[in-house]
Symmetry: C2
């Protein structure tokens, strides 16, 4: 056993030991704790900005790209924003409590409850705001949390977690309800995946490699999030104005996120009319198109796509294009290459739309609307811990309920089974 | 790649290809299919009994114990019972369809649906009735199913699955919606665990070794079922008559099942009054007690328990006994040794009961009622595919809903994200 493994284990043990002090608290009390955590964050703005300054210097020294520097940077305004997001959680309904209650002929009364999962572990990358967001969502749902962030933000994360722990203490709760893994190397992530009996769920938020590693190697339950190889299919009966608006938005509005589109599928009957317009409309972002043979024949500016292109989540101003003979060919392509995240058909034909929406296997399937709407806020969940691309437990944008489980409390007066 | 692996893969591919022919069918149609499957079973009673006869001869030749022979044996009456269980599913509410619907300020309309998981795989052991039950629950919930039974029942399983597939064909559906793995060696179970992209969930129903193997090695999502190291704790403020009735029932009514109790925890204040009575009440089953030092001091007939005993699911007329100083010690013991299945406190003290039920981490926590009630039928679910001992997705007795997932169908009129 390595030192890192032992450290992670000791941290998880402390967090698990603290968990029962929160799990049975009322919604009112948990809301008071959230307010205390938000106040403590604001009170410690200077310390957090100092720490963030050290992260930024280190990042600059290590040649971290400007985009990442921006995600890493905190300001007093951003810290206020993080505290406000915490206060918004206060207003959300309690995800815990009795969801059903019934008495059976045997004489038992069964109360079905939603209860916290227990200990939630989250592995994430550069953005320090995730640290506070994730901790607050865990606390609102009655869970203790183990956070393991990226090395670029470690100083900021330490300062943020110290403030949040102070908030817990001010409300008389154990600070160990929020634990931060101090090691940021791969070994600490791998150790967290082995904490069976200590970690009730592990949520990896990050790149494909991290998620794949968790799914393949974790001994604790994992919720897969984030991978999004999303498609927009323009049907032969599409309104091409809607198609243009939606396809451009799905690809170009924010290409770095998981619900952005990566491949454009065009019915052969509208491909020649649509593709040049789409190309023209995306010149302001200088979008690179990579087409199959038929797409390249229509649009000489397109580069030839390889098989690999159709399986790639670019997260960039690049898009694959394929011409298909039918909606069924589009459905088959999506089900083969998609990551079951967000998929879209543009059509005015109700029957084709129903077939596409029924047969495409994904968390969210759109008709005449942008894939970019797959988001907790856009769906009205009020808080989001990630977007699940798996089918079990939670699928699509995950709100507070995703961090709860069921518990049956059964009572009788000496009832026995016959 | 071995031949067994290739066979399992080909079977899973065929079942997955068939799945969309069922997933969008109405509840009415799925009910007609269940009726056709029940009829086909009854029509093929002779063939199934012949096949079962071959299994019984093989089992007798292999010296299979009498208890197992009984679980393996089919009769015309048992086949009628299996068909009737299928018809009972017809009466249950549809687990699929729209569960929520809302329009957002952005202009999108979101329909939240419950949809089938897709392909459900089940690994189970000797009882041939599970074959038909599991297939029927899958079909009712719109899923295709891959069944992998034990070698003792392979001939019976083949005959049952042939009849069920005939029922599917009579309703114009693909027989490949129900697939049986013909190899019954360990390699075929291991192959099934690797079918990522083909199997949406794997439910192992069987012994600890099988479940452990699935959890450790499966690359497909798994729902853990069945392991039940359950406790009855008799508090100092227990009504000892209720305690006696419940503890005897929890241990002795059917010790071979997962919701039977394995350890008796006794508060020191009532241990001397209770234990001899319990011992006397269990003489008709000749229950063997294995106690800690204090229990053995009270009851000389008890054998000394080892640490191992407290971690053992006996599934037999054996019970561990431990004397504790407090309800908190009982809670700690249960959370340490329990398998999060079913746990019980006997007490008249509301506060202690609330503390025990709140802090014990299990699917079902009982007060003054037998752990034996953790069962889909007893909870009124109408159908049960197993009892989940994990926290994610489904916990406790799993009904039809456990075989479904969420899908968001979103529509707009060219809606884009700003």
């Amino acid at each position: 056993m390595s030192t890192v493994f032992e450290e992670v284990k000791a941290l998880c043990e402390a967090v698990k030991a603290a968990a029962p002090t929160l799990s049975m608290q009322t919604n009112e009390k948990r809301n008071r704790v959230l307010r205390a955590m938000a106040s403590a964050l604001l009170d410690n703005t200077d310390q957090i900005l100092d720490a963030n300054g050290r992260d930024l210097s280190n990042a600059a020294a290590n040649g971290v790209p400007a985009v990442m520097m921006d995600r890493l940077r905190l300001t007093a305004e951003r810290i206020t924003g993080i505290a406000n997001a915490m206060l918004e959680l206060v207003a959300l309904p309690d995800p815990l409590g009795v969801s059903d209650s019934f008495t059976r002929p045997s004489g038992i009364t069964v109360n079905k409850l939603r209860v916290p999962l227990g200990v939630v572990a989250i592995i994430f990358e550069a953005r320090p705001n995730v640290t506070a967001d994730a901790a607050a969502i865990a606390i609102k749902s009655g869970n203790a949390v183990v956070l393991r962030g990226g090395k670029e933000a470690i100083e900021s994360n330490k300062a943020i977690v110290a403030a949040l722990r102070l908030g817990l203490e001010r409300e008389g709760l154990s600070p160990d309800l929020i634990g931060l893994v101090s090691s940021t190397d791969r070994e600490s992530a791998n150790a967290l995946m082995q904490m069976r009996g200590l970690v009730d769920v592990l949520i990896p938020r990050g790149g494909k490699g991290l998620i794949r590693n968790c799914v393949d190697n974790a001994k604790v339950p994992v919720i897969e999030t984030g991978a999004g190889n999303c498609h927009v299919y323009v049907d032969k009966d599409a309104d091409l104005d809607k198609a243009l608006r939606v396809a451009v938005n799905a690809k170009c509005q924010r290409p770095s996120v998981c619900n952005a589109a990566e491949t454009l599928l065009l019915h052969r009957d509208i491909a020649a009319a649509f593709l040049p317009k789409f190309y023209a409309a995306t010149r302001e972002w200088n979008l690179e198109l990579r087409g199959d043979a038929r797409a390249c024949a229509i649009l000489p500016e397109a580069k030839p796509a390889t098989e690999e292109d159709f399986a790639t989540e670019y997260n960039d101003y690049i898009m694959a294009v394929k011409v298909v003979d039918s909606a069924d060919e589009a459905i088959a392509h999506v089900n083969r290459y998609g990551t079951r995240h967000s998929e879209c058909i543009i059509t005015e034909d109700d029957e084709v739309a129903a077939r596409f929406q029924g047969l495409v296997d994904a968390a969210a399937v759109y008709r005449n609307a942008s894939t970019r709407f797959t988001d907790g806020g856009e769906f009205g969940l009020g808080a989001e811990i990630g977007i699940s691309t798996q089918k079990l437990h939670a699928r699509g944008p995950m709100g507070l309920e995703a961090l709860t489980t069921v518990k049956y409390l059964v009572s009788g007066d000496g009832a026995i089974r016959r």
